[in-house]
């Protein structure tokens, strides 16, 4: 019988945020259409390193396996991307897996992206529809707004745009492209526009849109192809107009 093709995976492991990091190498049997999540599952099934040492399964986040839940973002061969859509046949081996670096580490490849959720809350990234009584029908959304908003609604809050942004780091609490793009989405919606001013004030607050330095890495790294730089520019325009008018005309 011919020897089966092997896939070599090198994982950065860390038991907790304050524990020392180490690398473990695994040799897995190749299968067609294999992706990085399948590698991690195979390791969990048989957690033995390449040199035969028994170890523990690797901690990682994943859920949908079709690039819509946003949970499996990690560094794959040094690049931020989704593990579920990272096909082994298209990756250089050994495949190096590391956790995202811009979020607090939980364990191994799992990070805590609470910062993004907090930022979404700060900018009120929702459309308030609930009242104490029936508010009636909302305004119609024009087909043009629908067409512009739909791609923005694809955001899966994976954090890749923050990971690749040079302005997101330990000295700088920049909220990042994903959040600003959500501001654009909800301000675009006729009902959402009722809170437009509050959202713009939030993006002009600490860690807001002013921290963007236009490196435009976000749009390159976005797995959903969201026009993030367009969103930032649009929100920038609305923001300075509001700042200027608010300043002069109160």
């Amino acid at each position: 019988m011919a020897e089966t093709k092997k896939v070599i995976v090198k994982v950065k492991r860390q038991a907790g945020p304050n524990d020392p990091a180490r690398r473990e190498e695994f040799s897995l049997s190749w299968r067609p259409s294999m992706n990085v999540i399948i590698c991690l599952r195979d390791i969990a099934e048989n957690p033995v390193t390449r040199d035969g040492k028994k170890t523990t399964p690797i901690t990682y986040d994943s859920n949908c396996l079709e690039e819509i839940c946003g949970s499996c973002a990690m560094l794959i061969n040094g690049k931020a991307r989704m593990a579920c859509s990272a096909l082994v046949d298209q990756l250089e081996q050994p495949i190096r897996l590391e956790p995202l670096t811009k979020f607090p580490l939980v364990r191994d490849l799992s990070v805590d992206r609470q910062f993004m959720f907090e930022s979404l809350k700060r900018v009120k990234a929702w459309i308030p529809i609930d009242g104490t009584y029936h508010l009636g029908e909302g305004p119609r959304v024009s087909p043009e707004v629908q067409a512009k908003g739909y791609p923005l609604s694809h955001c899966i809050t994976c954090g890749n745009c923050l990971e690749v942004c040079p302005q997101v780091n330990e000295h700088n609490q920049f909220m990042g492209a994903a959040i600003i793009s959500q501001v654009r989405l909800f301000n675009m919606h006729p009902t959402g526009a009722m809170n437009k001013r509050e959202r713009l004030e939030a993006v002009m607050g600490p860690g807001g849109i002013q921290e963007c330095a236009n490196a435009q890495n976000c749009v390159k790294a976005c797995p959903k192809g969201i026009p993030l730089t367009e969103s930032i520019a649009e929100v920038n325009r609305d923001a300075w107009k509001q700042a200027l008018l608010g300043w002069f005309l109160g």
């Binding site: 040094g78 690049k79 690749v164 040079p166 302005q167 780091n169 330990e170 000295h171 700088n172 001013r197 509050e198 004030e201 939030a202 002009m204 607050g205 600490p206 807001g208 849109i209 002013q210 921290e211 963007c212 330095a213 236009n214 490196a215 435009q216 890495n217 749009v219 390159k220 790294a221 026009p227 730089t229 367009e230 930032i232 520019a233 649009e234 929100v235 920038n236 325009r237 609305d238 923001a239 300075w240 700042a243 608010g246 109160g250």
Partner: protein
């Protein structure tokens, strides 16, 4: 303003001011400066006439400080502060925009250092009374010449990328297509400024006046 929402914070206003001053008045002054110095391409006498006109403007010190020195000082120092708050990752993500992000910081620093030296040698040491002869004498020094060339290229690049950044950051170029067009405009501006700047240097260095036939004796 609603009391529940946060006000635009100081860093927002300072960032906007940083972006704005880069174009107005700093970028505009660079254009004026290259334009005035282009007089050397006509004739040393023309250069001295233009220089004298500028040296004798009313409220000279106020104009210099309000529209040239202070804006450059603010733009430069706040720019360094912005640099320190970023963390380059161009080795992991070697994309064009990311390279520009890094280059914008280094050219800004080079231009800032150059402008400091340039002000010292051509404004301070000459007591604001530079003539064609004093500049040509400085340009005869190969180190001065080299620093002039580096300073001109760094400033021109920084302005070109800066115009692109400005158009994106103020939402004047929003779609990917518009931002590409803004990028091409930035390239044209950067190349044009570099070209004119180098011509001026050559004019002083080689006593070369390609537009000499324009000159009319006063």
């Amino acid at each position: 303003m609603s009391d529940t929402a946060s006000q635009p914070d100081a860093s927002y206003l300072l960032r906007k001011l940083h972006s704005f001053t880069g174009v107005l008045p700093v970028g505009a002054f660079l254009a004026e400066h290259f334009w005035s110095n282009s007089a050397a391409l006509v004739d040393p006498r023309k250069y001295d006439e233009v220089s004298r006109d500028l040296q004798t403007i009313p409220f000279r010190l106020v104009v210099e400080w309000a529209f040239i020195f202070l804006p450059i000082l603010f733009h430069g120092l706040y720019g360094i502060y912005i640099w320190l708050r970023g963390k380059s990752n161009v080795s992991a993500y070697p994309w064009v925009g990311n390279w520009q992000y890094v280059a914008q910081r280094y050219t800004g620093l080079i231009a800032f250092a150059y402008i400091g030296w340039h002000l010292y040698t051509e404004r301070w040491l000459t007591h604001g009374k530079s003539t064609y002869a004093t500049v040509a004498q400085d340009m005869a020094n190969p180190w001065y010449l080299a620093f002039f060339v580096v300073g001109i290229l760094a400033s021109s690049f920084h302005l070109g990328v800066g115009i692109w950044n400005f158009l994106c950051k103020w939402g004047l170029a929003t779609t990917a297509k518009a931002q590409e067009a803004a990028g091409r405009l930035g390239v044209v501006i950067g190349v044009a400024f570099s070209f004119v700047g180098i011509l001026i240097v050559l004019s002083f260095r080689l006593n070369w006046h390609p537009f000499a036939f324009y000159y009319i004796n006063k």
